[in-house]
Amino acid sequence: MPEQTSRTGFFTHDERHRIGFPWSKSFDFAVQNLRNRFTRSLITMSSLILAVAFLAFILVNLNIATGLVQFGGTEFASILSEMGFDVDTALGTVTTGPKERWIVLLSLLVCTVGIINAQLMSVTERFRIIGIFKCLGALDSIILRLFLIEAAIIGVIGAAIGAAAGIAFAFINGLFNFGVAALILVSLFDVFISFLLATATGFALSIIGVLYPAILAARMEPVKALNAQH
């Protein structure tokens, strides 16, 4: 332990002298960063919004279809089958066709890559600031926390906007294809669950996207971060 070898009490530290960064400050700083880099944040957010909107659209379409099959009668079932849904009239359940499932999976995958890319850029752009932070005594965990808070804010806002947009679009689409019945028969509770599911997915994508670059940045030697070219 360094305390034993130190002669002048250079390294003696007690509880009062801990390194830290209060949560409220971290939050303020993250919000300020987002505001200062507003367009940049929008770009990061836009790929997230698109991915979540698409997911929400598919989910709510399914909700509408389920509502139609359960309460609407058999004529809807045949229309839905024609449109590519897997309809089970006996159980009253509807699932998407395998093709559609593939498209959802692929598009989410592509969006994840897009989000990671955007987050990677937003971290590498700030290597220098990370270097300064480290020179001033910031711990790795403080830097990691700042980026995670930022990603969480982007994640929640972006995912909520995306999910809302996707649901709105699904309703318009349902209205267009099946008339007012689509909106009357759909279970709002199911739609709400879909909204939560899509938002949570988007939030998770945002966090996953920032995790790798943020860990990379937090572990950097200060000199490397300060002199990093971007």
């Binding site: 130190s6 002669r7 002048t8 250079f10 300064i132 005594g137 200060p222 300060l226």
Partner: protein, 246 residues
């Protein structure tokens, strides 16, 4: 002279960088002792290894070989937390490119290290204003770095370096991006801090203006310490150096 206490000891430090397949020897074995409260200048042309040495002393980079002791503690033995603590409380850094955070105001820049150190907001603000007053920027604390001149930005950086009352201030080319007059002001400020607060000041520089205020000068060439001169020895050779500069 009273007994001098060693605050920084550099022992056989070597640093090799890999540039593709080539190995560049930035430092080839440096031994150096720095005393508490002195004003030490590390002089050398660019590429001599002085910035590398500076980074080693400040714990910003790790030597390939050899050891750096700060107050008899080998800093390579410190864990991440202790290293952060060292950077936060014991060492203040000043850079050629100022390195203040552009999105924060002058005051926020100065209080940031205090926040890391766990100081309360009000106390930090009060001390931050005090420090900005000290460097002559008391009235401009709400300005963002881009609204300040180079000399003023460097003064913000000096105030920030002082935030947690460090024992050592490391200044890498502090006057490199400043003109003659503001450079002199910055040097004068550092000198005053050294005298009045007993802060050990270590600068890496090739600015000959620094020589007048330094207690000792370490000349670095090709990754080695060429010679160490005290100020009284310096004044003799200084004339000729000044001549060459002009």
């Amino acid at each position: 002279m009273e007994e001098k206490q060693i605050i920084v000891r550099v022992e056989g430090v070597k640093k090799t960088f890999k540039m593709g397949k080539q190995h560049v020897h930035a430092l080839r074995g440096v031994n150096l002792e720095i005393y508490t409260g002195e004003y030490l200048s590390i002089m050398g042309s660019s590429g001599s290894g002085k910035t590398t040495l500076f980074n080693m002393i400040g714990g910003l980079d790790k030597p390939t070989e050899g050891k750096v002791f700060i107050d008899e503690v080998d800093i390579s033995q410190l864990d991440a937390y202790e290293l952060a603590w060292l950077r936060n409380r014991k060492i203040g850094y000043i850079f050629q490119t100022f390195n203040i955070i552009p999105t924060l105001t002058a005051l926020e820049n100065v209080t940031l290290p205090m926040t890391f150190a766990g100081m309360h907001h009000e106390a930090a603000t009060e001390k931050g204003l005090e420090l900005l007053d000290l460097v002559g920027l008391g009235t401009r604390h709400q300005h963002k770095p881009l609204e300040l001149s180079g000399g003023q930005q460097q003064r913000v950086a000096i105030a920030r370096a002082l935030a947690n009352d460090p024992a050592i201030i490391l200044a890498d080319e502090p006057t490199g991006n400043l003109d003659q007059r503001t450079g002199e002001e910055a040097i004068e400020l550092l000198r005053t801090l050294c005298r009045e607060r007993g802060v050990t000041i270590i600068t890496a520089t090739h600015d000959y203006k620094m020589l007048n205020v330094s207690d000792r000068v370490v000349w670095v060439k090709d990754g080695r310490v060429e010679k160490v001169e005290k100020r009284d020895e310096l004044s003799i050779s200084l004339g000729t150096i000044g001549e060459k500069e002009r």
